[in-house]
């Protein structure tokens, strides 16, 4: 009997301690052991960063292995680090340290994502994602990148110094200091390496360049026939205003490529009518433009850039300033990579938009037998290179996946219907870079003029970007930069035969023949993911080009004089969609008003009054969106039928749809297959309006307000609602210059006015810190949503105005 209290109390304590030390299962999620997670000393409470409202400026003295001189870091009111160093390696060491301090978990998850190592921490549910990214060859591309980059002394030193800084921070951490997400996911930080920086770079390249419609195009071609395909999917949009227009400048282009081109006889594969996985697609846009001094009040050029990306917390970009004895540069980069990738210095400014050309192709591979180790090209048997990928899975068994590399790239999809055929994926980023690429590119940080810009941008290599430029000397320019394969007409538009070397890429368009616009007489350059050139450009290319934002930006810029930074802000925040205007102008006249009830007529009148501006508190943008979507889906029901069978197909663009409404209202596609009647364009838009009127009747009015209707949210990277911002009220839509969509939008609005000293403004929907417990986690979100900007602090010496400084760090060499 005397033992009973001991047994009971012991059992109670044991159960309690076991329960608090054991990960908890909650559906698909595994929660961390509660005792370690909730205790206020080393659990999540330890991530509650102090808020210094009393003006206190924390100061730290630290060191990083390898440091050769003193480095001072001043953090401004946005927590942007201003790094003052005596040499570049020390600057990158400090950059690694402060980036890790703010964004360590984000860096880790970015590198894991590209290397296909998410399942190691997230478990079984993401293993297919890991498998796919490995099959697409991105991890191997990053390994090739680093193998090349380290041959260049500048790049090796830069990457290793940055790595030293990151690891110096990691080594300081006790489990109590781990970023919150590590605690939630119950794992520990691991050492940073230069390879991980390359993985982050590859991840960013993929996020921007990943788009191809070869498989969907092939299926559509087979299903529709050549004439209909060409009718619905023209390569050129007649209203488009390209980035670089033909002024006779490319008359001599391509003459050196004739030898190559004579060898191009690409063959289209017999079109498959079987199920493929969906094509890869990342529809990321951006705007940039530069105006020269003839158009500005100050007489100095102004450069603007807003990069449109999926919006997440922690925010994708990290702001910083690097100050060295011979230059000072301010801008943004992704966490995990040294240097400044978009920004400005005392003399120049530069900004990016996506080129939107397709830079990946698909090939059908013919195996000699079911072991899939040898394949046939030009009658010759070649051996595939096999790479066994080991995918570790948290709480599960490791799986092995053999990826077969061919001369047409890695095999991504296996054809379940044919044991002897598979599909290989050729992507520009599979090609190893030149060892000197990063040194060239990052020389833009210290660039002084147009020549420096032209020397730097080839270093972008396989990241295809429209790079806008402005200099204090008065120059403006834009270049369609990247690796673009030299192709025969329509090569790469469809699935190609992988049994002939003729179909291999034959090199890239030479740097000097890439479209460039320098000091145009109109006084501005601009891009917004539209066509790179008009159709007279000698090299063939295809892609998914935006048809709306560029025209709207052009229409604003062409009549704008006496420009100031404030007038530039109004373009970045412009919410008018020319795509919507064109569609509306095509749809309204076709409505058969005799068939409308009074409330439908009222809706018609409301739409007639709409100016195609997507404003947050209005309901007409929501009504129009529903109307357009209904009519569009009704028209392309034939495509839906294929898609429902699992066959990816193309859908015509909205501009083509609008054009058909106006020019071919009797087009067979307007007929809805499920009805006995033969519908035309008028029937479609009238029916669509009635459908929408019925929805409007039923819907609560507040849900129709545009900002609620589009359901904008900035989610945490791990999709944790509590760490997300679900309450942000925004204007705009994907096709307005202020391209704010449901989870996507301008990720860094930047305006730089050059002159004797640059003056810059910027804002992004996030904050410098990746810690949800920091006041700097999402402090810029509300300003961003409201269209407000922060003046960016460009400090030329470390004795900066003290009222802007919120924290100081001093790094000194170890003895």
């Amino acid at each position: 009997m005397r033992f009973i209290p001991l047994i009971v109390s012991g059992a109670l304590l044991a159960i309690l301690l076991w329960g608090l030390s054991t990960p908890l299962s909650a559906g698909k999620n595994v929660l961390p052991p509660l005792g370690g997670f909730i205790n206020p000393y080393s659990g999540f409470w330890a991530n509650a960063d102090p808020v210094y409202a009393d003006g206190k400026i924390p100061a730290h003295t630290l060191s990083i292995p390898g440091l050769t001189g003193r480095v001072e870091v001043l953090f401004d009111e946005m927590q942007v680090p201003h790094i003052f160093a005596e040499n570049e390696p020390d600057a990158y060491r400090a950059q690694g340290y402060v980036m890790a301090r703010h964004r360590l978990w984000q860096m880790d998850i970015s590198a894991r994502q590209t290397s296909g190592r998410l399942a190691e921490i997230l478990g079984d549910r993401v293993k297919s994602m890991d498998k796919m990214i490995r099959r697409r060859g991105l991890a191997r591309a990053a390994e090739d990148d680093w193998a090349e980059y380290q041959k260049n002394e500048f790049t090796r030193t830069m990457m290793e110094a940055y790595t030293d800084g990151v690891n110096a921070y990691i080594h300081e951490l006790s489990p109590a200091d781990y970023p919150l997400e590590y605690k939630l996911l119950n794992y520990a930080p691991e050492e940073w390496t230069p390879l991980k920086s390359c993985l982050v770079i590859e991840g960013m390249i993929d996020a921007l360049n990943k788009k191809d419609s070869d498989l969907a195009s092939s299926n559509s071609l087979a299903l529709l026939g050549r004439d209909t395909f060409d009718y619905l999917f023209p390569l050129w949009y007649p209203k488009q205003i390209p980035i670089v227009q033909d002024t006779g400048q490319w008359g001599g282009f391509k003459k050196d490529q004739q030898g190559l081109l004579s060898g191009l006889h690409y063959s289209l594969n017999e079109v498959p009518e079987r199920v493929f996985a969906s094509p890869f697609e990342a529809i990321n846009g951006s705007n940039n433009w530069a105006v020269d001094g003839s158009r500005t009040v100050s007489g100095a050029p102004i450069l603007c850039n807003d990069t449109h990306l999926p919006l997440r917390l922690p925010h994708v970009w990290y702001q910083l300033q690097l100050h060295l004895p011979d230059y000072t540069t301010y801008g943004i980069n992704v966490a995990g990579v040294p240097g400044v990738v978009i920004g400005f210095n005392n003399d120049i400014a530069w900004g990016f938009t996506n080129v939107s050309q397709e830079v990946a192709d698909w090939y059908k591979i013919y195996w000699t037998d079911a072991t899939k180790t040898k394949y046939t090209v030009d009658g010759e048997v070649l051996e595939a290179e096999l790479r066994v990928e080991e995918i570790k899975i948290a709480r599960g068994e490791t799986i092995l996946d053999t990826v077969r590399y061919t001369i047409f790239g890695p095999v991504v999809y296996e054809d379940s219907a044919d044991a002897l055929c598979d599909y290989a994926y050729r992507y520009t980023t599979h090609d190893p870079p030149s060892a000197d690429d990063l040194e060239h590119f990052f020389s833009i940080n210290k660039g002084k003029n147009y020549s420096d810009y032209r020397r730097a941008i080839p270093g972008l290599d396989c990241l295809s970007q429209n790079v806008a430029f402005a200099s204090a000397q008065g120059d403006i320019a834009i270049t369609v930069q990247g690796n673009f394969p030299i192709r025969a007409h329509e090569q790469g538009r469809f699935l190609q035969e992988g049994n002939s070397r003729d179909n291999l890429w034959k090199g890239y368009i030479p740097q000097e023949e890439l479209p460039t616009l320098y000091k145009p007489s109109r006084g501005f350059v601009f891009s917004a993911n539209q066509h790179s050139t008009d159709p007279s450009y000698p090299y063939y290319y295809a892609g998914r080009f935006d048809d709306s934002r560029a025209r709207q930006i052009y229409s604003r810029l062409k009549d704008m004089h006496q420009i100031t930074a404030d007038s530039m802000k109004t373009i970045q925040m412009d919410n008018r969609s020319l795509r919507a205007r064109d569609a509306l102008q095509a749809m309204l006249p076709l409505v058969n008003q005799d068939q409308l009830s009074p409330d439908e007529q009222e809706l018609y009148e409301e739409l007639s009054r709409w100016d195609a501006r997507y404003l947050r508190d209005e309901r007409t943008p929501s009504v129009f969106t529903m109307w357009l979507d209904t009519c569009y889906n009704y028209t392309w029901d034939e495509m839906d039928a294929h898609r429902m069978k699992g066959i990816p197909v193309l859908y015509p663009s909205i501009w083509k749809f609008s054009e058909l409404l106006e020019s071919d209202p009797g087009c067979v596609f307007f007929d809805y297959a499920a009805t006995k009647e033969i519908e035309d364009a008028s029937a479609v838009v009238t029916h669509g309006l009635k459908v929408v009127a019925a929805i409007v009747r039923e819907m609560e009015p507040e849900k129709l307000v545009w900002h609620r209707f589009k359901k904008f949210a900035i989610m945490h990277t791990a999709q944790i609602p509590a760490f997300s911002r679900m309450d942000v009220v925004t204007d705009g839509t994907r096709h307005t210059p202020n391209a704010t969509d449901s989870d996507h939008g301008p990720s860094f609005r930047m305006i730089v006015e050059l002159g004797e000293h640059p003056v810059a403004w910027g804002v992004y929907p996030g904050g410098q810190s990746g810690n949800p417990g920091s006041p700097y986690y999402d402090d810029l979100v509300d300003d961003w949503a409201a269209g407000k900007y922060r003046k960016l602090n460009f400090w030329l010496d470390a004795s900066a105005d003290g009222k802007h400084i919120t924290e100081r760090m001093e790094f000194t060499p170890q003895n």
């Binding site: 005397r2 033992f3 209290p5 001991l6 009971v8 109390s9 012991g10 109670l12 304590l13 309690l16 301690l17 608090l20 030390s21 509660l34 005792g35 370690g36 909730i38 205790n39 206020p40 000393y41 080393s42 659990g43 999540f44 409470w45 330890a46 991530n47 509650a48 960063d49 102090p50 808020v51 409202a53 006790s174 109590a176 944790i720 609602p721 509590a722 760490f723 949800p772 417990g773 920091s774 006041p775 986690y777």
Partner: protein, 118 residues
Amino acid sequence: MKAFVYALVVVLAFSSLSYLGLPWWIVAFAGFLAGYVLIGRFTVLLGAFSGGLLAWGLAAYFKDRANTGILAERMGEVFGGLGGFELILVTAFLGGLVALAACFFGRSLRILRTGNSI
């Protein structure tokens, strides 16, 4: 009353060693120690519970105050919609509960070894 205060101080003091990097279950060790060493019936148990409660509750409170509630608001949502203050209470209660269970065990062990049921 003395036993209550002693138990509270012992648990509070030992638990606070977590600041030095000791693991979170030091609060259990502290509770066990109080139960095993201190003589008393419910006062020791109550003291240990209060010590654990204060050790975790105050630490959470001060961190939350310095943070102006930013993190507590977010973490409260993770914990099913708790408010910041409720989250501090949950934290405190858990600290108290572990100390109490360990104190109960320590006291039971002492009683078994000494035969003294007080």
